[in-house]
């Protein structure tokens, strides 16, 4: 969920009203955003860098506000204020208008060379805009927020904004070998080739994160004007030449992308938020995009969509009973201007700022929000069903109860562990274990899904050596094993594991508990191994030779018990004899 930082006084000034912190918090809650933190530059610096550095920093109150991930239209002061004011019924949602260029339209020509790296580009012009310091900062901040969220850290879309009066269209978007791109990047004093730039920014705390998007490509994307001036090298950096300033009057906005839909949403969002500062408010000048196939498409799309929505359905879905005109009012307050149409339907206008509205259910939600979630009458569904437990969980719980009654204490260990835990430490080669391997573990503890419960219990003993002996622990839980019979190639297996740790191994105790479990499950001892259960001496590297047996149930091995091998004991930092039983629960269902 993105968080935006907004100067409180500027916010209240724009809202035309002051709120106490509680009042504003309440408003946010109703609207579906969250006042996350109240702070100031000074407090932030104080917290991060200490008292000395904070001297002289601004003490103006900053509100940090959490915005839902799909509301790109609320990511800046302008959008937030507009949303809130419309929500409060204090202002109406403005109509956005596309206007043709007064002279030749600006054109961005996309070359086919971009197809291998970043194939799409869109553009728009904001004419006769008037920035002040605050609105200029907000313009830059919004680009940053969009880059971080909707643009997926610039991988999907990258925005470049330019002073149109410093460059000469038409513009060319192409992909060139890094060494043939040379320009003076933003905030640098000299020219660099693209390859040199990659080195320069390798240590830049901000930009280095974006380098991998194009770094290994043989060609880098670049936008130039008709005189060959580099506007930007997306998604890394703009050129110094065309940079926008407080005095910029005409802004050329380009978005390059790997996802055309998102590029168009980003462009719409930017121009909708800032066209209010144009001399001709809420108007945007059209740009032409020439595709490699030669077609011409106009941007921004700035599409206003109309949907016919059945009021009855809204009422039914939300669980309210409101008249059509009231529902239309509610929607209008959510920036979805609505009018009552025939047949109990509403004609809902979805503006280009609300790209999150993709289905009627999104409209239902906005009705519910405007109505107030907490004003909806609570009712119980009439759904009549008879409950049942998952049989394996039911058996598991019954067995757990019995193990605790037998004097063993339940441990709860992790499903993920290191490769070593299930192999070397148990004296088994990793290749012999059908374990599921994680491809992107952040630490060693998340390398594999456990194939046995034993390591977790032995670690639990190690952490509890100070408790009086004997230590008697159990766990009944799932392990994960590869299984190519399943669609995902793996399955869980419910295992029961008990460990007994004392000065003497206590094999007979663990054995006795197994007999007790079998008695509870009504399975007779059958040394022939065909109908009931039996123990069969076996060799298992984890156990001490001659002190280990398989548990055989109806002719199939379902578990193992024995005295742990001294090397297993010591590999888990233990020093006393230990007996263990591990049993597959599923055959006993």
């Amino acid at each position: 969920m993105p968080t935006i930082s907004i100067n409180r006084d500027l916010l209240f000034n724009a809202l035309g009203k002051s709120y106490s912190e509680e009042e504003f918090d309440e408003l946010c809650f109703k609207f579906g955003i969250e006042l996350d933190e109240v702070t100031s530059d000074k407090l932030i610096i104080l917290k991060e860098q200490g008292t000395e550095r904070s001297v002289g920093a601004s003490e103006e109150i900053i509100y940090k506000i959490d915005i839902p991930a799909n509301r790109y239209d609320l990511l800046c002061l302008e959008g937030l204020v507009q949303g809130l004011q419309v929500f409060l019924g204090e202002t109406e949602f403005p109509p956005f208008k596309l206007i043709p260029s007064q002279k030749v339209p600006q054109r961005l020509i996309v070359k086919s060379s971009t197809s291998s790296i970043r194939p799409y580009a869109v553009a728009a012009v904001l004419r006769n805009i008037c920035f002040d310091q605050h609105t200029f900062n907000s313009f830059i901040d919004l680009q940053d927020k969009l880059h971080q969220n909707l643009c997926r850290k610039r991988s999907l879309v990258a925005i470049g904004t330019h002073d149109l009066d410093t460059v000469q269209g038409p513009f060319y978007y192409e992909a060139l070998p890094p060494d043939s791109i040379k320009f003076q990047p933003l905030n640098q004093t000299k020219e660099f080739t693209a390859s040199k730039l990659m080195d320069l920014y390798a240590t830049d705390s901000h930009l280095r994160h974006y380098l991998p998007i194009i770094k290994d490509s043989p060609v880098y994307p670049v936008i130039k004007d008709s005189n060959g001036v580099v506007l930007s090298m997306p998604p890394i950096i703009n050129g110094e030449h065309s940079k926008i300033t407080l005095n910029t009057k005409n802004v050329f906005i380009e978005c390059t992308a790997t996802d055309l839909t998102k590029a168009s949403i980003v462009l719409d969002t930017l121009v909708c938020m800032f066209s209010r500062y144009c001399q001709d408010q809420f108007t945007v000048e059209i740009c032409e995009i020439e595709t490699p196939q030669g077609g011409i498409k106009n941007y921004p799309i700035l599409k206003t969509r109309q949907e016919k929505i059945d009021v009855n359905k809204i009422n039914k879905m939300v669980g309210i009973n409101e008249e059509a005109d009231k529902v239309a009012d509610l929607l209008t307050r959510m920036c979805l201007t609505a009018t009552v149409a025939e047949n109990g339907c509403l004609l809902v206008t979805i503006p280009p700022t609300r790209h999150d509205i993709i289905h009627a259910c999104d409209v239902y939600e906005d009705v519910a929000i405007a109505f107030g979630y907490n004003n909806i009458e609570k009712t119980l569904p009439s759904t009549n069903t008879i409950a049942s437990q998952f049989p394996l969980n039911k058996l598991t719980d019954q067995l757990r109860e019995q193990l605790a009654q037998a004097g063993f204490t339940e441990a709860l260990t992790f499903s993920l562990c290191s490769k070593e835990d299930i192999s070397d430490k148990l004296r088994k080669p990793l290749s012999s274990i059908p374990a599921v391997h994680v491809s992107n573990p952040k630490t060693l503890e998340f390398q594999v899904a456990r194939s046995t419960l034993l390591p977790g219990l032995l670690k639990t003993i190690a952490a509890n050596r100070k408790l009086p002996l004997p230590l008697k622990f159990f766990e009944v839980s799932d392990v994960v094993l590869k299984d190519n019979q399943r669609d995902v190639g793996a399955r869980n297996c419910r295992k029961l594991c008990i460990v007994y740790y004392n000065k003497s191994p206590g094999f007979e105790l663990v054995h006795g508990l197994l007999d007790r479990l079998m008695q509870l499950l009504e399975i007779p001892l059958d040394p022939t191994g065909t109908t009931g259960y039996s123990l069969k001496s076996c060799d298992d590297a984890t156990f001490f030779p001659g002190r280990c047996a398989h548990v055989v149930f109806e002719g199939v091995t379902v578990g193992v018990l024995g005295v742990l091998h001294p090397e297993v004991v010591t590999s888990f930092d233990l020093n006393l004899p230990c007996s263990a039983l591990e049993l597959n629960v599923e055959p006993f269902l």
Binding site: F29, N149, V436
Partner: protein
């Protein structure tokens, strides 16, 4: 032995009435500890004797002290070792050590100097080598005498002594005193039962104040106990448990089936554990997958879709499931295939996130999930079910916040009021599954699916007061904690949670209902106001005021009104015949019309101002309204403020919320009551204004929380009382008000 001594001691007590253990030890020449043992064993018999513990301090001689007592003080030993003819130092020392072998050089040194200073001995250098001679013929060794006294119990000195604390018992006969003791049995034995000897034996009383022996037994894990409670609640509510025993899931079921786009941040390797082996899934139902692909990339089912290039390779990537909703998706798909029947499902099982770990987050945790699928379910149903679900956990107060979730719409975050923390805390997430998720599965169009989820660990940590999740889950857990953990009764509040007294809850509920009604009224008022706004009424107002008491605030407000908006306003000023003295030009021209044509019909606002001898309370009358006159400066000011608000849509008086408006009224009322009290000195009011403005927060306006907000109160009071205020803050405030 103890019993033998016991009987002896009891006899002694019978004869003497009381006894002291120390004295008895001396008397019987027995080790004191043995006597104490006897006393203790007698005390166990009940009330045979009474004994009181005493500590006495006993003086005892040190080794050096004992030497002195036996052989004399160091100086006396030196004196005695000197022959009448005198002798050299080494000779004397040799002589002195004959009767006392442990007489050391150090002791001799002390002896020599002490004997010299006492004048017992002297040095004779007449014969060359210095010789010591006896100076007096006899000495009295007081030191030795004292130490001898001490050794025999006379306490006259404190030096050269070591102290020893001796505990002794002072005894007297108890209430059931008897001189014969039978040995008490500690416990019943099989032999006693067989022989019947238990009938004559006495049994030692149990110490009921001590704890019993811990029972060796096993225990269930606290988190699993809480899980059992949640499971029970779902079962009570008729929910069927889902088979969630598949940690490995494909991206398809975990994300794509839930209409979570393939570029969604949750699908990033930073957030999700992907698998290297088995890396991909197969056997995704082909036509269903095709429908999912279409709804993602092109929409359908009434949806616009996400408009991107959906890739099957992305859907086939295996992962460790990030939520149990993946299983819900499989269940709903299965439900659709088998001919839909209404269903209620739940699960509580592990999910995995490749997140940064901290005190409250682990890479794996348990998710609790509830799902209801039926025809025509509503958001109101979801809210109703959540109230019932959480009521079973002892949580009564809920509220819901709009939220975003890719697969639910509407989505609601669930908050509950935590009485201990005294604030609302998020306890879960909920929503109605999107049609783009349900319809491709083949569920009927009018079926809705409600769902909610929460973590198992969080309520458990709150319930049992853990602040680090590693103390609860994982191999590092202290198993003693598991053993000590109480029963899990989620609807009972004890221990770390604080329960509010019931009357407080009742008050809260009443407060809530009052506030809800107030909000309702406020909404109605706002609506009415808005209706009023639409038609900007033409208004003709007649104000009468006394030139001796010019209503300055009213005049200021009229100036603001006229300046606030470029509307045609006409003002005419008259004098009434009741005036004894003609008004000055200033008074007659204080306001100028802003209209060029004086056609009153076109003007939005026509004001007739009449100077009249009516005393300090001006009066206003709205022409064409049957309401009576509005009397008093404050009332007229309120009228004008409302007018200003309706014209300019600013917040000045009643456009603020009810609280703020009430605050403004309060200030105006204070002024009115000053007037009415007949002593309009306004000292108290002026002081209050001064205090308000001088408050430490450095506020700018009288009303609202810091820094305040400009309002009618500022304009009204600054105009009327400005000249009485002289603090710097107040002056700043005045200039702010003037530039209003």
């Amino acid at each position: 032995m103890a019993i033998a001594h016991g009987e002896k001691l009891l006899k002694y007590l019978e004869e003497n009435g009381k006894a002291n253990s120390l004295k008895l030890s001396e008397l019987w020449n027995e080790d004191h500890q043995k006597i104490v043992g006897t006393v203790k064993s007698l005390l166990c018999l009940g009330d045979v004797i009474e004994a009181e513990l005493h500590s006495t301090v006993k003086w005892d001689l040190t080794e050096e002290g004992k030497q002195v007592a036996a052989h004399g003080s160091h100086e006396a030993q030196i004196y005695n070792a000197i022959p009448p003819s005198g002798s050299t130092q080494p000779e004397i020392m040799a002589q002195a050590s004959i009767p006392n072998a442990s007489f050391t050089k150090d002791m001799a040194k002390v002896g020599f100097s002490k004997a010299m200073s006492l004048g017992w001995i002297a040095v004779d250098k007449s014969s060359g080598a210095p010789k010591f001679i006896q100076k007096v013929s006899s000495i009295q060794d007081v030191v030795q005498e004292h130490l001898k006294d001490l050794a025999t119990g006379k306490n006259t000195l404190t030096n050269e002594l070591r102290t020893e604390v001796v505990k002794s018992y002072e005894m007297k006969p108890g209430s059931s005193f008897s001189t014969s003791v039978t040995k008490q049995e500690t416990d019943l034995t099989p032999e006693m039962i067989a022989s019947g000897s238990w009938k004559t034996k006495e049994f030692k009383a149990y110490n009921l104040n001590a704890l019993g022996t811990p029972v060796p037994r096993g225990h269930l894990h606290p988190l699993m106990k809480v899980r059992a409670e949640f499971r029970q609640i779902f079962l009570e509510m008729g929910f069927t448990e889902m088979p969630t025993n598949n940690y490995v899931e494909s991206s398809f079921w975990n994300f794509d089936a839930l209409f979570q786009p393939q570029q969604h941040p949750a699908r990033d390797a930073h957030d999700t554990f992907f698998l290297a082996d088995p890396a991909t899934a197969s056997d995704i139902p082909t036509d269903y997958m095709e429908r999912v692909k279409n709804v993602h990339s092109h929409g359908g089912y009434g949806s616009q879709g996400y408009g991107y290039d959906w890739k099957v390779e992305e859907a086939q990537k295996n992962l460790l499931r990030t939520h149990t909703t993946a299983v819900s998706a499989r269940m709903l798909y299965a439900l659709a295939q088998g001919g839909f029947k209404p269903a209620k499902y739940f699960s509580i099982d592990r999910v995995f996130r490749n997140e940064t770990l901290d005190a409250t987050h682990l890479a794996e945790f348990h998710q609790i999930e509830g799902v209801i699928a039926d025809y025509g379910l509503t958001l109101g149903n979801l809210i109703g079910v959540l109230y019932e679900f959480f009521r079973k956990l002892g949580i009564e107060k809920l509220r819901f916040k709009p939220a975003y979730n890719p697969y639910t719409e509407p989505s609601m975050e669930i908050f509950s009021y935590h009485p201990g923390l005294k604030k609302w805390v998020e306890i879960g997430n909920s929503g109605i599954f999107r049609p783009e998720m349900l319809l491709p599965m083949g569920l009927p169009e009018d079926v809705s699916v409600l769902a909610w989820g929460l973590s198992l660990e969080r309520p458990t940590m709150i319930k049992y007061g853990y602040d680090n999740i590693r103390d609860l889950v994982g191999p590092k857990v202290n198993m003693q904690m598991v053993a000590d953990n109480p029963l899990c009764r989620l609807d009972k509040h004890r221990g770390t949670e604080i329960k509010e007294p019931e009357y407080l809850q009742e008050l809260d509920i009443r407060m809530d209902s009052i506030m809800t009604r107030l909000r309702g009224i406020e909404n109605e008022v706002n609506k009415l106001k808005k209706q009023g706004k639409g038609s900007q009424e033409k208004l003709t107002l007649v104000i009468e005021a006394d030139p001796n008491y010019p209503p300055l605030s009213v005049q200021t407000l009229i100036r603001i009104l006229m300046a606030s908006r470029n509307v045609p306003v006409s003002v005419t000023i008259h004098q009434h015949s009741s005036l004894k003295k003609a008004c000055s030009t200033d008074l007659m021209q204080w306001a100028k019309s802003t209209t060029s044509n004086l056609n009153r019909i076109d003007n939005l606002f026509n004001l007739t101002w009449i100077w009249k001898s009516i005393g300090p309370r001006p009066a206003a009358k709205v022409v064409n309204h049957c309401n009576g006159d509005i009397c008093g400066e404050a009332a007229v000011a309120r009228l004008l403020a409302r007018l200003l608000e309706s014209w300019t849509d600013c917040a000045f008086y009643e456009n603020y919320d009810l609280n703020t408006t009430a605050e403004i009224d309060d200030w105006l009322d204070m002024w009115e009551s000053c007037i009415q009290s007949g002593d309009p000195t306004f000292v108290v009011l002026a002081n209050r204004i001064n205090n308000r403005l001088n408050s430490s927060d450095g506020r700018k306006w009288l009303i609202g929380s810091f820094p305040g907000t400009k309002s009618l109160a500022d304009v009204f009071l600054s105009t009327l009382l400005g000249h009485k205020l002289n603090s710097d803050r107040a002056k700043e405030w005045l200039s702010r008000c003037n530039s209003f």
